[in-house]
C-alpha cells in the first residue's frame, strides 16, 4: 500500500506541473494556432524569478511559512509582464505566416530566454534552500509525503478549476471558445482579435511562469529545466488532444502516473512506456482523447 501511494503521489505531483505547462501550450494553440515551444522556458523563467523574490523577502524577515503567497504573486506578475511584451513584440508578426515560421520563432525564443536566464542568474543551480520543508511531511498510510508537494497539487487543481470556470462562465471564455472555433466569425461580430490574442498569450505565459514558480521550492532551478518539461508536454498534448484543456488535464495525469509507475517497476522503460501510449493514441485516435472538444 505504501509503495502504491508513493508512486501515486509522485505521479500526481509530476502531473500537476506538467498540466500547467501543457495547459499554457493548449490555450495558445487552441485560439492562436501557434505551437508555442517557449512555454517550457516560461516555466524556467518563473522558477528563477520565484527564487529571487522569495529569497529577497526572506532576507528581509518575511515569515517563511507564508512564502507561498509572494511565490504565486511572482509567477503571476512575471507572466503578466513577459506575456504581453513577447506577444506584441514578436508573436503578432507571425500569426499570418506559415507554421514553420511560428515554430522557428518560438524555438528562437527558447534559445534567447535561456541565455537571458544565464545572463541574469548565471549557470549555477539556484534553490530556495529547504524553505518548502517548513510545511513538514504527512504520513499517509505509511507513505511519507512532503506537504508542499500536496500544496502544489492543490494549486494546480484550483488553477484547472479557475480555467474551466473562466472558459465556461465568463464573457472572455465565450469569446475564446468562439474564436477558437471560427476566428473570422468572431472578427465579423466585432471582437477585437488583437486584444483576444494578447490576453490568451498572456494567459499561456502566466500558466508557465506560475508552474515554474510553484515547483521550484521542491527542487532547484537549472537553465535547461524548461526543455526537459516541454518534451513531456508534447506527449501530454498528443494524448489529450491538441488544443483541449480537458485533454491537458487527463494527459498530464496519464503521463505523470505512468512515468512514476514505470520508474518503480521497469526503470529503463520510462520513456518507452509513455511513447507507446503516444503512438497508440496517434494510430487509434489521432486527434487525441479529447481532441474534438476545443479549448
Amino acid at each position: 500500500m505504501e509503495t502504491i501511494l508513493n508512486i501515486l503521489f509522485s505521479g500526481v505531483f509530476h502531473a500537476s506541473t506538467l498540466f500547467l505547462v501543457a495547459a499554457g501550450l493548449q490555450v495558445v494553440f487552441g485560439v492562436q494556432k501557434v505551437f508555442n515551444l517557449a512555454c517550457g522556458t516560461f516555466y524556467g523563467l518563473g522558477a528563477y524569478f520565484g527564487i529571487t523574490v522569495v529569497k529577497c523577502l526572506v532576507e528581509h524577515n518575511f515569515p517563511k511559512a507564508l512564502f507561498i503567497v509572494p511565490l504565486i504573486a511572482a509567477g503571476l506578475a512575471l507572466g503578466l509582464v513577459v506575456g504581453p511584451i513577447i506577444e506584441r513584440g514578436l508573436m503578432k508578426f507571425v500569426y499570418d505566416r506559415d507554421e514553420t515560421f511560428q515554430l522557428l520563432l518560438t524555438f528562437g525564443l527558447v534559445m534567447m530566454l535561456e541565455d537571458v536566464i544565464k545572463f541574469i542568474w548565471g549557470t549555477s543551480p539556484q534553490s530556495m534552500g529547504g524553505i518548502d520543508m517548513v510545511y513538514g511531511q504527512l504520513n499517509v498510510l505509511g507513505a511519507t509525503v512532503p506537504v508542499y508537494n500536496l500544496v502544489v497539487i492543490l494549486c494546480s487543481l484550483i488553477i484547472a478549476g479557475l480555467i474551466s470556470w473562466l472558459l465556461m462562465n465568463t464573457r472572455f471564455g465565450r469569446i475564446i471558445r468562439a474564436t477558437a472555433d471560427k476566428r473570422e466569425m468572431g472578427e465579423a461580430l466585432g471582437i477585437n482579435m488583437k486584444v483576444v490574442y494578447l490576453k490568451v498569450f498572456t494567459l499561456g505565459t502566466v500558466l508557465g511562469t506560475l508552474g515554474g514558480a510553484l515547483v521550484v521550492p521542491a527542487g532547484a532551478a537549472v537553465s535547461e529545466m524548461g526543455m526537459d518539461l516541454i518534451v513531456l508536454a508534447f506527449a501530454v498534448v498528443v494524448i489529450g488532444g491538441l488544443g483541449s484543456m480537458k485533454g491537458a488535464f487527463v494527459g498530464a495525469l496519464i503521463v505523470g502516473v505512468l512515468k512514476s509507475l514505470a520508474i518503480s517497476t521497469y526503470p529503463e522503460m520510462e520513456m518507452l512506456t509513455i511513447y507507446i501510449i503516444v503512438i497508440a493514441v496517434l494510430v487509434i485516435k489521432p486527434q487525441g482523447l479529447f481532441g474534438g472538444s476545443r479549448v
Binding site: T3, I7, F9, S260
Partner: protein
C-alpha cells in the same frame, strides 16, 4: 552581419579578460612582456573549449573563469618566458562542432596548445584529431575511454583526464569503510556511459570488500532530469540500506532536497560519489550529515597550509561570490603544467620548444596545483588525488562540507596504466 551566439560569448569573454587585465595593471606595475632570448615575440595562443550551456555549464563556467584568472595572473607576471598569453575561446557543444572548432583553433588561430573539453563523447572525437594534427590537447575532464576501456593507451599530443570511474571506486572504498554493515544498495545514476560505468565500478569494488552486499535495483534518469519525485518513490520501494549516485551537476541538489523532503534518508544511508561538483548548492537545510560526498579532485577546504589553494579560493570568491568546484583545478593544472613544461624545455634547449618537445616533457610532469601536486603519468593520463568524506554541518557556510576527509590517491583509485583491464585490476586487490 549579426554575430553568432558563440562569437558573442567569445567577445564578452575577451572583453572580460581585457578588463581584468586593465584592472590588474592598475594597482601594480605590470611586468613588461619582454621575451627571453631565443623566444618569439608574439603572444602564446591558448585555445580553450569550455562547455557553457546545458548540464556541463556549472563545471564549464568554473573552468573558463579559472582559465581567465590564470591568464591574467601570468600576464601580470610577464607571461610565459616573456610572451603574453592570449586566449581564444570556442564553446564545447556537440562532438561534430568540437572537432570543427578544434581544427579551427589549430589551423586558423594557430594555437600553441588547446585546453578544455569535459564530455568523454567529445574527447573520443578530439583525441585522435589532436594526434593527427600534432596539436597539444590538455583535457579538463574529457577522457578517451569507451566504457572503462582506454581507446588511446599511447598518445603524443593528447593529455587526458583521470579515468571516469575513479570517483566511483573511491566511493565504494569509503562505503566499505564507513558503512561496513550495509546489506543492500540501490543505485540512481544518469543514463549515459559515465553513470553506467560508475555504477558497474562501484558494485565491483564494494562487492570486493563486502561480498555479501546485494544490489537490489538501479534507476537511470536521463542526464538533465529536474524532477526526481518518481525516482524517489522507486528508491523507497527498493528499501535499501544505502543509495549510491554519481550525479555531479544541477541534479545533485534536486535529488538531495526531494529525497530529504520525502524522508528517504531516515531509512537509508547514501553515497554521492561526485556530488561535490555542485557542493555549494547542498544547503544544510536539506542535506543531512553523515552522507558520503565526493568532491572529485579538488576540495576548496582541503587544507589551510597550501597557500596556492587559499589564495585561489579567496580570489575566486571575491570575484564570483562562489566557492570553486573541482573543474577549476583541472583548468588550473593543465595551464600550469603547460607553462612549466615550456619553461623546462627552454632551460634545456635555449629556445621556444616545439609542440612535440613540450609533449615529451609533459609526460611524467608533476607541478604544484590548487589541490597539491598533480601530474601526468607516462601514459599521459592525469594523476591526482580525490577528496571524499562525510557531510557535516559544522562550518560557517549555509551549505555542507565534509569531515573525516579521506584523500584517495591515484594508486588507490586509478588503473596502474592506461591499457590495464579495470575489473581484472580490482580482482587482484587484497581485501
Amino acid at each position: 552581419m549579426g554575430k553568432t551566439r558563440r562569437e558573442f560569448v567569445k567577445l564578452v569573454g575577451g572583453a572580460a579578460v581585457g578588463a581584468g587585465m586593465l584592472l590588474a595593471g592598475r594597482g601594480k606595475a605590470q611586468a613588461q612582456a619582454k621575451p627571453a632570448k631565443g623566444v618569439p615575440s608574439g603572444p602564446v595562443r591558448i585555445g580553450a573549449m569550455p562547455g557553457l550551456s546545458g548540464v556541463i555549464a556549472v563545471p564549464g563556467t568554473a573552468a573558463w573563469r579559472t582559465t581567465q584568472m590564470w591568464a591574467e595572473e601570468v600576464n601580470a607576471a610577464g607571461g610565459i618566458l616573456g610572451r603574453k598569453v592570449e586566449l581564444s575561446m570556442e564553446e564545447e557543444t556537440t562532438a561534430k562542432d568540437c572537432v570543427e572548432r578544434f581544427r579551427k583553433l589549430t589551423l586558423e588561430t594557430k594555437c600553441d596548445v588547446i585546453v578544455g573539453l569535459m564530455s568523454t563523447g567529445n574527447g573520443l572525437a578530439v583525441g585522435p584529431l589532436a594526434e593527427e594534427l600534432g596539436q597539444l590537447w590538455l583535457a579538463w575532464d574529457a577522457t578517451t575511454q569507451k566504457g572503462v576501456v582506454e581507446t588511446m593507451p599511447r598518445t603524443k599530443f593528447s593529455f587526458r583526464s583521470t579515468d571516469n570511474e575513479a570517483e566511483a571506486i573511491g566511493g565504494a572504498i569509503l562505503t566499505a569503510k564507513f558503512f561496513p554493515n550495509i546489506k543492500t544498495v540501490v543505485g540512481i545514476n544518469n543514463d549515459y556511459s559515465y553513470g553506467r560505468d560508475c555504477w558497474d565500478a562501484y558494485q565491483a569494488v564494494l562487492k570486493h570488500f563486502n561480498p555479501n552486499v546485494k544490489f537490489v535495483d538501479a534507476l537511470w534518469p536521463k542526464l538533465g532530469e529536474t524532477d526526481f519525485t518518481s525516482h524517489i518513490a522507486a528508491l523507497k520501494k527498493a528499501n535499501a540500506d544505502l543509495i549510491m549516485t554519481s550525479f555531479w551537476s544541477g541534479d545533485v541538489p534536486i535529488l538531495m532536497k526531494q529525497a530529504t523532503a520525502a524522508g528517504l534518508f531516515k531509512r537509508s544511508k547514501a553515497c554521492f560519489t561526485t556530488g561535490g561538483g555542485a557542493h555549494y548548492t547542498l544547503k544544510k537545510e536539506f542535506t543531512p550529515e553523515g552522507i558520503i560526498l565526493g568532491y572529485n579532485s579538488f576540495y576548496f577546504k582541503w587544507t589551510d597550509t597550501w597557500p596556492l589553494l587559499t589564495k585561489f579560493v579567496n580570489a575566486y570568491y571575491a570575484k564570483y561570490k562562489e566557492y570553486p568546484v573541482y573543474e577549476t583545478d583541472h583548468a588550473y593544472f593543465v595551464l600550469q603544467a603547460y607553462k612549466e613544461a615550456v619553461e623546462k624545455c627552454y632551460s634545456i634547449l635555449g629556445r621556444w620548444p616545439t609542440k612535440e618537445e613540450v609533449g615529451k616533457v609533459l609526460s611524467g610532469i608533476q607541478v604544484p596545483s590548487l589541490s597539491g601536486f598533480r601530474g601526468y603519468r607516462e601514459d599521459n593520463l592525469m594523476s591526482c588525488n580525490f577528496f571524499m568524506g562525510l557531510t557535516s554541518h559544522k562550518n560557517p557556510y549555509d551549505f555542507v562540507t565534509i569531515n573525516q576527509m579521506e584523500v584517495l590517491t591515484p594508486v588507490q583509485i586509478m588503473k596502474p596504466f592506461a591499457g590495464a583491464k579495470l575489473y581484472d585490476w580490482i580482482k587482484g586487490w587484497k581485501s
